[in-house]
Amino acid sequence: MTGALLRVNIQHMMNIAAIEIAGLVVVRGSTVVIDGLDASVPIGSITGLIGPSGCGKTTLIRAIVGIQILRSGSVSVLGKPAGSASLREHVSYMTQGSSVYPDLTVQQNLRYFADLSGSASSTIDAALDDVALTDKRHDLVGNLSGGQRTRVSLAAALLARPDLFLLDEPTVGLDPVLRRDLWKLFSELAEAGKTLLVTSHVMDEAARCERVLLMREGRLVADETPAGLRERTGKDDLEEAFLTLAERSGSSDRNQSSTERSAS
């Protein structure tokens, strides 16, 4: 009987998506930021959340972390309602903009976040190595460049090696070599069974993801593999593919889409 129960349990676990979003609506002030969004992110994958700035990416990530007040709909993470206390040690959130302390050294920052998540201090060395900041560990974060601060922030998210990483623009302002190395690290994490949701407004990063969620004005315009996107739109270039999809979805508000196109 226990065997049968175990089998049911395992089957149940395999069916759980890392993130399951249904009918999500978020209103901030008088603006509808997310307008009825459904999405599902499988366990052990890298999913790119791509879209122009102001399209609701950060709000969506915040809803997944469970720190965003929702108007309606539901978000579940690893089978539990987003924001559940028991999820906090399984989810790591890197906010947009470096949310680390500028008046502490790199090492002191990471030590603090390691202590909060109960990670061993050896994880600090590994995380510093991952973001190539080992030689800066005793520098004040406030004296670092913008890109370096972003890396400190990313290192803090990597410390605990949780099951789900929510990374809001982790590679913005970084040089191409470092960006390539980080995406390699993201793939390794996914291969080890971790789930990553990474936002970006750069289309070439979409090509590095297994799945791409394309967002525009609070709605998903695509949820596909990069290959699928190219096939559906008949464009080899993902940037072009996005523009095609944006035009198809936004024929009613053509003026707005043309301004956004020039912005992205």
Binding site: I67, S99, Y112, L116
Partner: protein
Amino acid sequence: MNLTRTLATTRRVLQQLSHDKRSVALMILVPSLLLILFKYVYDGNEALFDRIGPQLLGIFPFIIMFLVTSITMVRERTSGTLERLLTTPLLRGELILGYALAFGLAALVQSLVTASVAIGPLGLQVKSVWVIVLFAVLDALLGTALGLLMSAFATTEFQAVQFMPAIVLPQLLLCGLLNDRSQMAEVLRWASNVMPLSYATEAFTAARSQVGFNGTMWRDLAVVVGCLLAAIALASLTLRRRTA
């Protein structure tokens, strides 16, 4: 509650302070300098200095800790670090307690320095030095606790600074420092009765002329500790994990 996370927060706040040498110097030295100034403004009037000096020993740390704490907390909120902290296993109570411990320690150093200067070179006459130091630390902690609480209502550092005159100055006017509370109009005395600083000031007044702890001081101690615990509890309740 997890002691590791609480103490990690305390250490982090103290490390932040240690990188800001100028703030540390201001925090430790300004109350002493103000007391010296006060002594020479009333040069020759020893009786007045002896009456108001002990009360000032409690009021300076109260004001300074209120300001330091509320601004630090608002900075944590606006920089995005608070949002990040609330997504980690850190509990809100652990965060607030960690802050209170760090600033309480800073307050202890500040009170010891100020009391030493007042009682040593400035020749302040008090009967119970340890009661003065105890209440000075409690006042500082009360300032920290109220600062933590008020920071929840400030969305910018600018607003946080405005809370100082709004929350601190009425207590200063009514606590019995400027005028004996028994001589105030009835309404003002009622208001004074519900302000924690009044009780701390009462204890300072008593410690000036009495040796050791007496019944009123126990009541004062209970009120001040009660208020600071209530403010800390409220502060952790007003920290919202979910925001719009």
